[in-house]
């Protein structure tokens, strides 16, 4: 009889394990918040505003109701995960600093793809929020909505390599990071052209010196990062070759061109910016571009990327944008 009881207990233990393992996993999963992803036109993320405490794990169960989306958290190292129709993707997030985080879709799911954003409010034990320094365009008082045209443009694309080979000494004032951030290439070109030591150079030579200075403010790693960010986030509208002709560009332009009365005075062209156009690019400073990227708008469909990109990522993207105007290759 003892054997019989042993056998019964053995069976009961095995059955308990067979049931409790999946059920425990199921219970743990059910603690998570289910987030449905839909194209922005039909609702975007539901729910789109979440709240969690610092250090508390946030279990999210992501699923898509239409096409494949992707879930990423702005300004974080969390790798994006795909959100697949009919499947549940589990993500556990832990935030170590309070603040308002943005989650967003990284798949070009529809023309309003960038509108698929939601927020996670992370509250801390103390309610003090870190003071964030305002971005440069604010402290400088730049009007990033104003039209800007370059007074001068180079005859051919400025080349950092050619600039370096001119063996000219550039005054240190122009070589600082601070100078680069708040000046346009045209401003540097004019300033260098006014330097007595450089007056004998041709205009194109000075443009090459500008390229050399611009190149000195970036690194190949930074350009690589910028390239990746551009391909993932910007190319859909601005085009892979940056001509302002990305796959969504025409659709963005359509609503207003069909309804010209909707245009208001001061409206910017709704076509995405063309980074290969020297007139607009060379008359913008890095601070100016940073403002446009993080704030967006300008009367166009440009999203705001402030909550998405870290400062490092924004500067990397800007450095990469210059490559559409300047040949950045280094001395061999």
């Amino acid at each position: 009889m003892r054997k019989e009881w042993f056998a019964r207990i053995f069976v009961i233990l095995l059955l308990a394990a067979a049931i409790s393992i999946p059920v425990a996993g199921w219970w743990k999963r059910s603690q998570g918040i289910v987030i449905h992803a839909r194209m922005a036109e039909t609702g975007g993320w539901t729910p789109e505003n979440l709240t969690v405490q610092v250090g508390q794990p946030l279990h999210l169960r992501l699923t898509s109701d239409d096409v494949t989306h992707s879930f990423a958290i702005g300004q974080s190292d969390q790798p994006p995960v795909d959100v697949i129709p009919g499947e549940m993707t589990d993500v556990t997030l832990v935030f170590d600093r309070p603040g308002k985080y943005t989650f967003y879709c990284t798949r070009w799911c529809s023309v309003n793809h960038w509108r698929m954003r939601g927020t996670i409010e992370v509250t801390g034990p103390t309610t003090t929020t870190e003071a964030v320094a305002p971005p440069l365009y604010v402290t400088l008082g730049l009007d990033i909505d104003a039209k800007h045209q370059a007074e001068f443009v180079p005859a051919e694309t400025p080349s950092a390599l050619r600039g370096a080979l001119l063996h000219q000494v550039i005054p240190p004032a122009y070589q600082s990071r601070e100078y680069y951030l708040i000046h346009t290439p045209v401003e540097l070109w004019k300033a260098l052209g006014g330097e007595p030591a450089l007056q004998k150079l041709y205009d194109q030579d000075v443009w090459d010196l500008v390229a050399w200075v611009w190149q000195a403010n970036t690194t190949s790693q930074e350009l690589q990062l910028g390239k990746q960010l551009y391909a993932a986030n910007c190319a859909a509208c601005h085009g892979e070759q940056s001509g302002g002709n990305g796959v969504f560009a025409d659709q963005l332009a359509q609503p207003k061109s069909k309804n010209p009365t909707g245009m208001q005075a001061g409206d910017m062209p709704v076509k995405p910016a063309n980074f290969t156009d020297p007139n607009t690019m060379l008359s913008a400073s890095p601070a100016h571009l940073q403002g446009k990227i993080i704030r967006g708008g300008m009367g166009t469909s440009m999203p705001y990327w402030g909550p998405i990109f870290t400062e490092k990522q924004t500067w990397a993207l800007i450095a990469y944008l210059w490559t559409f105007q300047i040949e950045m290759e280094k001395l061999p």
Binding site: K3, A7, L15
Partner: protein, 470 residues
Amino acid sequence: MSTLQEIPWLDKAAADENAKAIRQARTVRNRYNLLRISWLLPLLINRWPQFVIRAMTLAGFVFTITAGLIGTRVGSHNFAIIFVWIAWWTALKLSFIPFGGRSWCSICPIPLPGDWLQQGGILTKGRGLGLNLHWPKRLKGSWLQSGAFLLIGLFSAVTLTDPRVTGWVFVALFGLSIGLSLVFERRAFCSHICPIGGFTGIYAQTAPIELRVIDTEICAKHDDKSCYRGCPWGLYPVAFRDSATCGLCMECLRACPQDNLALNLRPFGADIGKPRTAKRLDEAFLTLVMLGSVLAFTSVFVGPWGWLKSAAYAIGSLRWVGYALGFLALNLIVLPGLFSLAVWAGQKYTGKKFPLNREIANQAQALLPLGLMAWIAFTVSFALPKWGYVVAVINDPLGWGWNLLGAGNILWSPDVSGFSPVLQVILLLIGLFWSANVARRLADSDYRRTVPIQVFCLAFTLGMLWLLIG
């Protein structure tokens, strides 16, 4: 069939005529009693090894149900779909049945709780529950098993791919088995309902293993019939003519005071090719249902017709009704009709020996190797390329992103595209020639009588070849 009720001579077991028939079983050559292997006998006599395996399959079965019901709905990531329909099905078709006959039945978890309740204990018998009624006589045979298999066939496209449906089907089978154990005596579910048991039984007749009495004289003198009383299936080993019914549970081995039972290794197909005395139209029908089902399943799952596949999936729709009617017509009318016609034509040329019914039941034996090999070839077509999924679902059985083995997302899929068709052709040809050989023996080498059957088999083989290899 070998149930006690059908053995009228049991009370006077030594009656001459039957004793002669029993002794014939002893004189059959080409047998090797595996119990002569010294370590095997204790392993089989002792209840613990089998009990431990059964407890684990039971836990696995319950886990499968749970995974099916609450795990991911994506079939290819759910244990219930992949482990059952790829791993277990392949093991059943490629190993348990062709080499072990009903060996799966000996460790099958489905009847165990019912068994235990019925006998009031796991290893020992106590005060059991249940009414222990006799199974209704008119429901005997494998008609219900054929019906259950056809029913599953109607919904197979969804059952085989949707974890929830697989889970609920298993819950239903489990509940039915327990319920029947409490109402009827012994293994009512296994013997008369289980759709797997039905075809496992008929194909077990081709397998190279059998459980038989060594010396029927000893049994005749044994008044107690402890083997019969101990058999959960209600079978009497002395009466075994074939291996269709014995579930190889080894209870008779444990019960026999004289060690008068043998677990024989025997040639493939040893049970078939002899004219039967009983006319078993139910077995003939089940044999034909298995042929029809493998044709239908191959058409739906492997064949080139997308519309057929989507019709089979769209349960309840008009298209599905069309598929269902076609499936039933193939199994209930076309194949039985063609086969009966073939048997009738054979008789017409050579003169009647038996009534047509009996002849159909007899000749259906010839279709067993054909069907077995067709099922194996069909299984090879989908199981081999999908084998990698088995590792993936053990690693993450519920499709929730678990990583139990640390295997990550490794999806190892052997490339069998070159090797698989060759294997399928070989399997189908083995089935065809084996069946032809059985048909010839059944017809006492009267070739004219077998020609229509051979044509039937050839047409079936060509159909399978066309579907599988194109």
